[in-house]
Symmetry: C2
Subunit: 200 residues, 2 copies
């Protein structure tokens, strides 16, 4: 049976990267979509594992051929989610998780990209504030801005198929696993299996 694409999104600080990592540690049938970038590899980063590294020319050529699900330019570099990797893994029966910000998830949905859209939510805005402050990377002004944006983003939860509250990490991964298992049980995926049963 073919796999599927899962778009996992969340407001900044809700823990989408951690939840995805924990899911990958639990199961062999799920892979994380590898981002393609034009920025140079940092020490220790491996092509095809951490990122796919391309020259700007190669990236633009791929972009022109429509081989990215979505892409963005951040400062001087391109970042994109290549279709080739996702399609080959899905074809081989793996589920592929694409971890992406809210704006990226919205673009995918608007373009009609077929996927299971999952929205990870913080248990509360006060907890989100605590997590953002705990990172010690953002100024108070930036944190206020992130919280204000998170409030707007959370209210768009109906853009997604499923919501998962990231209160307890293990419970959130249980929810995600259940969603994947249930999606594999959707009736429309059983045409091949039903033919086998009837033929037997």
């Amino acid at each position: 049976m073919k796999g599927m694409l899962i778009v996992l999104s969340a407001p900044s600080g809700a823990g989408k990267t951690t939840v995805c990592q924990a899911l990958l540690e639990r199961t062999d049938r799920v892979k994380r979509a590898i981002t393609t970038t034009t920025r140079p590899p940092r020490p220790g980063e491996t092509d095809g594992v951490d990122y796919f590294f391309l020259s700007e020319e190669e990236f633009r050529e791929k972009l022109d051929r429509g081989r990215f699900l979505e892409h963005a330019r951040i400062y001087d570099h391109y970042y994109g989610s290549g279709r080739d990797y996702v399609e080959s893994q899905v074809e081989a029966g793996y589920d592929v998780v694409l971890v992406i910000d809210v704006q990226g998830a919205r673009s995918l949905r608007e373009m009609g990209v077929e996927a299971v859209y999952v929205y990870l939510l913080p248990p509360s805005l006060s907890e989100l504030r605590r997590r953002l402050e705990g990172r010690k990377t953002d100024s108070p002004e930036v944190i206020e801005k992130r919280l204000s944006r998170a409030r707007d983003e959370i209210s768009r939860y109906t853009d997604y198929d499923y919501c998962v509250i990231n209160d307890d990490l293990a419970a959130a991964v249980d929810d995600l696993e259940a969603i994947l298992r249930a999606e594999r049980s959707r009736a429309e995926k059983f045409s091949g299996k039903v033919e086998e049963i009837i033929a037997s």
Copy 2:
């Protein structure tokens, strides 16, 4: 959070009663819809546990008030799935499983009864034959008729939201549990929770 109604159906012999029973043994948040009948209680049967026992007059009165999701007359007696029990349990947060034959499930769907429709499938028609023969209750002619009907019924799998293959009992119940957990995660159920998060 409110619970939901799960309509669990299957061709005769696919094991819907056994799977439902195994699900109920695993979790406290799921209840089985109790059938209402006008047939007299058999020794050991308790009203409100095995069945709701009503007189024919009481049954017809309830029927006239539209208080059955579905009903059937089998030989001399009425059988029906009362709305009252389902609605009160769902309101109290329980998921209620209604185990019903294919024709009954179709009626519910056609009437627009809101539920999660799950179709239990035998792993193969030869395995279904083995199970029907193992019961030793049906003549060879009846078994052939059941198998022929099962073939037609299985091909209507797209009438359901989900399919579960009953090959291994534990795996089938895992699938059912995942479906229930995922359905509880559907975005449209998060309006209350999202308000709480934003207000916090």
